[in-house]
C-alpha cells in the first residue's frame, strides 16, 4: 500500500496543475521522485572553512573529499555506496540552464582527482559523484558535501541551495572556534524551510580548549531562536587519527560515535518519518503559494475590476462630450479662415492686375501701339496668366493650411484627417480675347494732303509779305516757308494720331484686364467656396464617424459593466470552491507532521 503522504503529495501536485503553476509542480515531482527513491540524502552545509569535507571524510573513515586550507570544494560532491571505489563528474552537456532540466553527462575520473578536476572546470560541472564500499552507506545513505555558503564566489552558494532541495536531512557544520554567527543562524533558518531535519555539528573541538562553553552558547542561541535542532560536538582530526591507530578511546573522544548513532537513529531508521516531515514542509509551502494569489484574486475582484470597467464607461462618455464641444470650434475656424482667405486672395489679385496696368500705361506713354502690338498682346497675356497662376497657387496653399488648421482643432487625430484634394476641377477658363484697338495708319496721300494744307498757309503768308517788297507771290522765300509749314503740320498731325492710338491701346488693355479680373475673381471666389464646402463635408463626415465610434464604445462599456457583475459572481464561487479544496488539502498535509501554520479560507 502506498504510504499516506504519497496520496497527499499527488493531490498537491494535481492542485498545482489545475492552478497552472508548472514551477511548483516540477519541484514537487522532484521531491516525489526523491522520496520514492530508497536513497537517503544527507546534506552537509555550512560557511566555508568550517570542516565540512573533513567531516564527511571522518564519517566514512576515508579521504574521499579533498580538504585544504583555501576554498577547496567547488561543486556538490555526492558520496554513496558502491562495491568498488569509483568517481565521476556530472557536467551539463549544454552550458547554462537550470541544474535539473538540462541533459547531463557523466565522466569517470580517478577518485583522487575528483576535486582537482571539478574546480578546474567548475563552470560546467554540476556535481561530483563518488562511490565507495562502506557499511554506513549500505542502507542507501548518500552524503553530500557542498561548497561553503557566504563565500564571495556566489556560484558556489547557489549550487549549495540547489542541492538543498534534494536533501532528506541536513548536517549544518560550524566550527568550535566561535559560536554560531548571525549569518549562520540565517542559513539555518533558510535550511529549515526546505528540509526540517537539521542537526548542527560543531567541529574542530580538538583545537579549542573552551569548546564546551562554545557548545553551551550555541545551545542557548538555538533555544532562543526557537530552532529544534540537535547539536553534536565532534573532532574530525581525532576520528581520522583514531581510525589510523585503531584507538577506540580516541574515537570515543572524537564525538563521532554520537554523531553516527544520531545519523543511524534519526535519519536512516526513521526514513518514513523523515519523508512525512519533508513532504509536509514542501507541500504546505506549495499550497501556501497557491492560496495567496487565489485569495488576492478573490478580494481584488470585488473592487478593482469593476472600477476599471466603470472608468472605461466614464472615459467614453467624456470623449463624446469633448467631441461635441470641439466640433463647434473647428467649424468656426473653417468659416473664419475661409473668409479671410477669399478676401486676401482677391486683394492679391487686384494688386497684381493693377501692377500690370501701371506697366501698360508706362509703356504706352512712350511706345506706339502700331508697332509690335502682337508682342504687347503676348506680354499682357503672359503677365495676366502668371498673376493668375501665382494667385491661384497661393489660394491652394492657403487652403491646405486652413485644412491643416482645422484638422488641428479637430478632437482626435487620424491618418485621413487632412483631405487629399480640395481643388475644383473646372478652373481657369481663358477670359475673352484682348481686342485690338483701332489704329489709324497715317498713309502717304494723307500725309501729302496734310502737308499741302499746311504749306498753303505758309506760301500765302510769306508771298503776301514779299509781294509788298515787289516780289511775285510765288517766290523762293514763300515756297521755302510753305515747305517748312507743310513739314510742321505733318509732324503735328502724326503726333496727334500717335496720342490717339496710345489712348486707344490703353483703353483696350484696361478693358481686357478688367474683364480678366472680373472673370478670374469670380473663379477664385467660386473655388474658395468650393474648397470650404469640401472641407466642411469632409470634417463633418469624420466627426460623425468618430461620434458613432465613441458612442459605440460607451455602449459596450456599459454592457461590460453589466456583464461583469454576473461573470464575477461565477468566478468568485469557483474561487471559493478551489480555496476550500486547498484548505482541506492543507489540513491533511498538516496531519503528516509539518510545521504548525494557520491557513484559513
Amino acid at each position: 500500500m502506498a504510504p499516506p503522504w504519497l496520496d497527499v503529495l499527488d493531490e498537491t501536485i494535481g492542485a498545482c496543475v489545475t492552478h497552472r503553476r508548472p514551477d511548483l509542480e516540477a519541484r514537487l515531482r522532484e521531491k516525489r521522485a526523491q522520496q520514492l527513491d530508497p536513497k537517503l540524502r544527507v546534506l552537509v552545509v555550512g560557511e566555508s572553512k568550517q570542516g565540512k569535507s573533513q567531516l564527511v571524510n571522518a564519517l566514512l573513515n576515508a579521504p574521499v573529499c579533498a580538504v585544504g586550507d583555501d576554498i577547496t570544494t567547488t561543486v556538490p560532491t555526492f558520496v554513496q555506496h558502491a562495491d568498488t571505489p569509483s568517481a565521476a563528474l556530472v557536467r551539463n552537456a549544454s552550458a547554462g540552464g537550470s541544474i535539473f532540466h538540462t541533459p547531463t553527462e557523466r565522466i569517470a575520473v580517478p577518485i583522487d582527482q575528483v576535486t582537482k578536476q571539478a574546480s578546474a572546470q567548475s563552470k560546467h560541472v554540476v556535481r561530483a559523484e563518488i562511490g565507495i564500499p562502506r557499511a554506513l552507506l549500505d542502507s542507501g545513505l548518500v552524503l553530500i558535501d557542498t561548497p561553503g555558503v557566504g563565500d564571495t564566489r556566489s556560484a558556489h552558494t547557489a549550487s549549495t541551495f540547489a542541492t538543498l532541495m534534494q536533501a532528506d536531512a541536513v548536517l549544518l557544520v560550524s566550527d568550535a572556534t566561535g559560536e554560531l554567527t548571525s549569518a549562520e543562524m540565517t542559513l539555518l533558518k533558510k535550511v529549515m524551510e526546505a528540509c526540517p531535519n537539521v542537526t548542527v555539528v560543531v567541529t574542530k573541538i580538538d583545537l579549542v580548549p573552551s569548546w564546551r562553553a562554545v557548545v553551551e552558547r550555541n545551545r542557548a542561541l538555538l533555544a532562543r531562536a526557537g530552532v529544534p535542532a540537535k547539536l553534536i560536538p565532534v573532532s574530525s582530526a581525532l576520528r581520522l587519527r583514531a581510525a589510523k591507530t585503531g584507538d577506540q578511546r580516541l574515537n570515543a573522544e572524537s564525538g563521532f560515535p554520537d554523531l553516527l548513532a544520531c545519523v543511524q537513529r534519526d535519519i536512516v531508521a526513521s526514513a518514513d518519518l523523515l519523508a512525512r516531515r519533508a513532504v509536509a514542509v514542501v507541500a504546505s509551502s506549495a499550497i501556501t503559494q497557491l492560496v495567496t494569489p487565489l485569495r488576492e484574486e478573490l478580494t481584488a475582484h470585488d473592487s478593482s475590476h469593476t472600477v476599471a470597467t466603470i472608468s472605461t464607461l466614464q472615459e467614453a462618455q467624456r470623449r463624446v462630450d469633448e467631441l461635441r464641444r470641439r466640433s463647434a470650434r473647428w467649424q468656426n475656424v473653417l468659416n473664419d479662415e475661409m473668409a479671410d482667405l477669399i478676401s486676401d486672395v482677391e486683394y492679391d489679385l487686384r494688386d497684381r492686375t493693377r501692377k500690370i496696368l501701371r506697366e501698360v500705361d508706362k509703356t504706352y506713354d512712350e511706345a506706339d501701339p502700331a508697332i509690335g502690338w502682337d508682342k504687347f498682346e503676348q506680354w499682357l497675356e503672359d503677365n495676366l496668366n502668371e498673376a493668375a497662376t501665382t494667385n491661384f497657387a497661393w489660394l491652394m496653399e492657403r487652403a491646405e493650411w486652413v485644412a491643416a488648421k482645422v484638422a488641428r482643432n479637430f478632437p482626435v487625430y487620424r491618418e485621413d484627417l487632412i483631405p487629399g484634394s480640395v481643388l475644383p476641377d473646372d478652373l481657369l477658363e481663358p477670359a475673352s480675347k484682348l481686342e485690338k484697338p483701332k489704329i489709324e495708319p497715317f498713309s502717304v496721300p494723307q500725309k501729302l494732303f496734310t502737308g499741302l494744307r499746311g504749306s498753303y498757309g505758309g506760301v500765302l503768308m510769306f508771298g503776301l509779305v514779299t509781294s509788298l517788297a515787289g516780289m511775285p507771290l510765288i517766290n523762293v522765300i514763300s515756297l521755302g516757308a510753305g515747305a517748312l509749314f507743310g513739314g510742321k503740320s505733318i509732324l503735328d498731325e502724326s503726333d496727334q494720331r500717335l496720342k490717339r492710338r496710345q489712348a486707344a491701346a490703353k483703353a483696350a488693355a484696361q478693358r481686357h484686364v478688367d474683364d480678366f479680373f472680373m472673370k478670374f475673381s469670380k473663379d477664385v471666389r467660386d473655388s474658395g467656396r468650393h474648397i470650404q464646402r469640401t472641407l466642411r463635408n469632409h470634417f463633418s463626415t469624420l466627426a460623425e464617424e468618430l461620434q458613432e465610434t465613441l458612442l459605440e464604445s460607451a455602449r459596450s462599456a456599459k454592457r461590460a459593466v453589466q456583464d461583469d457583475q454576473t461573470e464575477r459572481e461565477r468566478r468568485m464561487r469557483e474561487g471559493r470552491k478551489e480555496l476550500d479544496k486547498l484548505v482541506t488539502l492543507y489540513k491533511r498535509v498538516q496531519a503528516l507532521g509539518g510545521p504548525a501554520m494557520e491557513l484559513t479560507a
Binding site: G68, D70, D151, T152, D206, P209, E253
Partner: protein
C-alpha cells in the same frame, strides 16, 4: 606648498572664520590636535576574530579585552582615562589580572571609550584603537586615519563593511587606507604545523582577488596568539615549554591531539594541569605544537625563539605593512582626516565667509598630487585604469603603492647611493614622459602616465 601645510593653513583659516561658534571651535581644535598626533589605526572585525589579541601583539603587552572602544596611546607614564557621556573623563587605575594588564573600569557603567596611555616603543608612531564588534563603519572610522580589518576567509559581510567604509565623497576620492588581516592564521590550517605558510599563501591569493584588491592596500596573515606569545613569553612559560619538548616527539604529539588530552589526567610528565591549562590559553594548541617543535629544532633560547615566532606568526609582516602603508603615509592620512572633518563642518554650519574654504577644499581634494597618486593606485588595482602588464607594476611602484621612500619607489632592493637613484629616476622620468605623450595610447593610459611623471618630477629636487 606641501599638502600638510596647505591643510594646516586651511584648519587655521576655518578657526578664524568660526571663532564665534563654540561647537565648531571645539571640533576644529580637536582636529588640529589630532593633526599633529601619530597615525590613528582602528582594529576592526567581526566578534571573536581576535581584535584585542592583535592589538596586544602590536603593543607587545597584554591587556584584558573591554566591551567599548579602547585607545592605546604612547606616553611616558602608564595612565588610563574613561570617557563616558558628556562630562569630563575620569582617571582609572591600571591593575593586573594574572599576566595581563587590566583597566579598572568597573565603577563606570557604560564607557564610550577608554584611553590608555602606555609607555611602549611600538606606540611611538601609532595610536591603536580596539573596537567592539558591533561598531558601525562610521563609528570605527570617525576617529581613525587608517583601518586594520581582521577576518578569517573573506566573506560577503567583510566586503560589505569595507565597501561602506569608502562611501563618502572625500573617501571616494581618497580611499580609506586599509590593511586586511587574515587573523587566526593557525586555525585556517586546522592547527597543522605548516598552517602558517598555507595561510600566507591564501593571503597572497586574496591580494590578487579582484573583489578584495580595490578595498585594501595589502592582505597579510597573522596568528594572533602566537604573535602575542612572541612578544610576551615569560621565563616560567619558556621553561615549561622546554620541559614539554624534552618529551619524545611521538608521545607529545599523542597528547597534543586535542586540547582535552593536553590538560587531561594521563599526562606523562609531572606538570600541574593548571600550568598546562595556562599554556593552552596563552598559546593555543597550535602554539604549543609549534613552539615545542621549534625548541626541538634548536631555537632553544628565549631570544632565538622570539625571533622565530615574530617572523612565523606574521607579526613582522604586519608591522612592515603598517609602516609602509600607514606611518610612512602619515601626512596624507592626516590631511585626509582633516579634510573630512572640514567637510563635515562646512556642511553642518555653512557660512558666507566660509565660501572660500569650500572651494579650497574641493580644489585640494581634486588636485593634491598625493591624493592623485592614491587614486591612481586604487584605479590600477581595481582595473578601472589599465596599463600594459610591464608598465602597471612600475607605475604602482613609482606612485608609492609599495612604500613612499624614493629607493622603494625606484625599485632598489639594496642601499643605493644618490647618484644611482638619480640616474634611475631620470631614466624613469624620460620613459614615462614618452608614455604621457604617446598619441597612440588610450586616454586613461596617458593620464596615468602624467601622474607618474609628476611623481618623478616631485622626487627630482631631492637629488639636486
Amino acid at each position: 606648498m606641501t599638502l600638510d601645510r596647505v591643510v594646516w593653513s586651511m584648519l587655521q583659516e576655518a578657526m578664524a572664520v568660526y571663532r564665534d561658534s563654540p561647537r565648531a571651535t571645539a571640533w576644529l581644535r580637536s582636529h588640529a590636535e589630532r593633526y599633529t598626533e601619530p597615525v590613528r589605526i582602528a582594529v576592526a572585525g567581526r566578534s571573536r576574530i581576535g581584535k584585542s589579541t592583535v592589538v596586544n601583539a602590536l603593543i607587545g603587552d597584554e591587556f584584558t579585552p573591554q566591551s567599548s572602544f579602547v585607545w592605546y596611546r604612547g606616553a611616558t607614564e602608564p595612565r588610563a582615562h574613561v570617557f563616558s557621556g558628556p562630562g569630563r573623563p575620569h582617571e582609572v587605575t591600571i591593575g593586573r589580572r594574572g599576566s595581563r594588564n587590566h583597566v579598572e573600569t568597573g565603577q563606570v557603567d557604560r564607557a564610550d571609550r577608554v584611553v590608555v596611555e602606555w609607555p611602549a616603543r611600538s606606540l611611538r608612531d601609532v595610536v591603536l584603537f580596539d573596537t567592539p564588534a558591533e561598531a558601525t563603519p562610521e563609528q570605527v572610522l570617525g576617529d581613525a586615519d587608517a583601518l586594520l580589518y581582521l577576518m578569517r576567509h573573506v566573506q560577503d559581510e567583510d566586503l560589505r563593511f569595507l565597501r561602506s567604509a569608502n562611501d563618502h565623497p572625500i573617501a571616494r576620492n581618497a580611499a580609506v587606507h586599509t590593511v586586511a588581516v587574515l587573523a587566526r592564521a593557525d586555525e585556517i590550517g586546522a592547527g597543522r604545523i605548516d598552517a602558517l605558510s598555507s595561510a600566507k599563501q591564501i593571503a597572497r591569493r586574496y591580494r590578487r582577488d579582484v573583489a578584495v584588491q580595490p578595498l585594501c592596500q595589502n592582505v597579510v596573515s597573522v596568528a594572533g596568539l602566537l604573535a602575542v606569545a612572541a612578544r610576551t613569553v615569560r621565563e616560567d612559560e619558556f621553561a615549561a615549554l622546554r620541559v614539554l619538548s624534552s618529551l619524545g616527539r611521538e608521545e607529545l604529539e599523542d597528547h597534543l591531539l586535542s586540547a582535552d588530552r593536553f590538560v587531561g589526567e594521563q599526562f606523562p610528565l609531572t606538570m600541574e594541569p593548571a600550568v598546562r591549562q595556562a599554556l593552552l590559553e596563552r598559546f593555543g594548541i597550535f602554539g604549543v605544537r609549534l613552539i615545542t617543535a621549534l625548541i626541538r629544532q634548536g631555537f632553544d633560547s628565549q631570544v632565538k625563539l622570539t625571533g622565530q615566532l615574530v617572523q612565523r606568526s606574521g607579526l613582522g609582516e604586519l608591522r612592515d605593512s603598517i609602516a609602509i602603508h600607514f606611518t610612512e603615509r602619515r601626512e596624507v592620512l592626516k590631511a585626509r582626516s582633516a579634510l573630512l572633518a572640514l567637510d563635515v563642518l562646512l556642511r553642518v554650519e555653512p557660512r558666507q565667509q566660509a565660501r572660500k574654504l569650500v572651494t579650497d577644499l574641493e580644489r585640494v581634494v581634486a588636485s593634491a598630487h598625493d591624493f592623485r597618486e592614491l587614486r591612481l593606485v586604487a584605479a590600477l588595482q581595481s582595473g578601472r585604469t589599465k596599463l600594459p602588464a610591464d608598465l602597471q607594476g612600475e607605475a604602482l611602484r613609482l606612485v608609492g603603492a609599495e612604500g613612499t621612500a624614493p629607493a622603494v619607489r625606484l625599485g632598489f632592493e639594496y642601499e643605493a647611493d644618490a647618484g644611482e637613484l638619480r640616474e634611475a629616476l631620470l631614466d624613469a622620468l624620460v620613459r614615462w614622459q614618452a608614455q604621457a605623450l604617446d598619441v597612440h595610447a588610450p586616454n586613461d593610459h596617458r593620464r596615468a602616465a602624467q601622474v607618474v611623471v609628476r611623481t618623478c618630477e616631485g622626487l627630482l629636487p631631492r637629488f639636486g
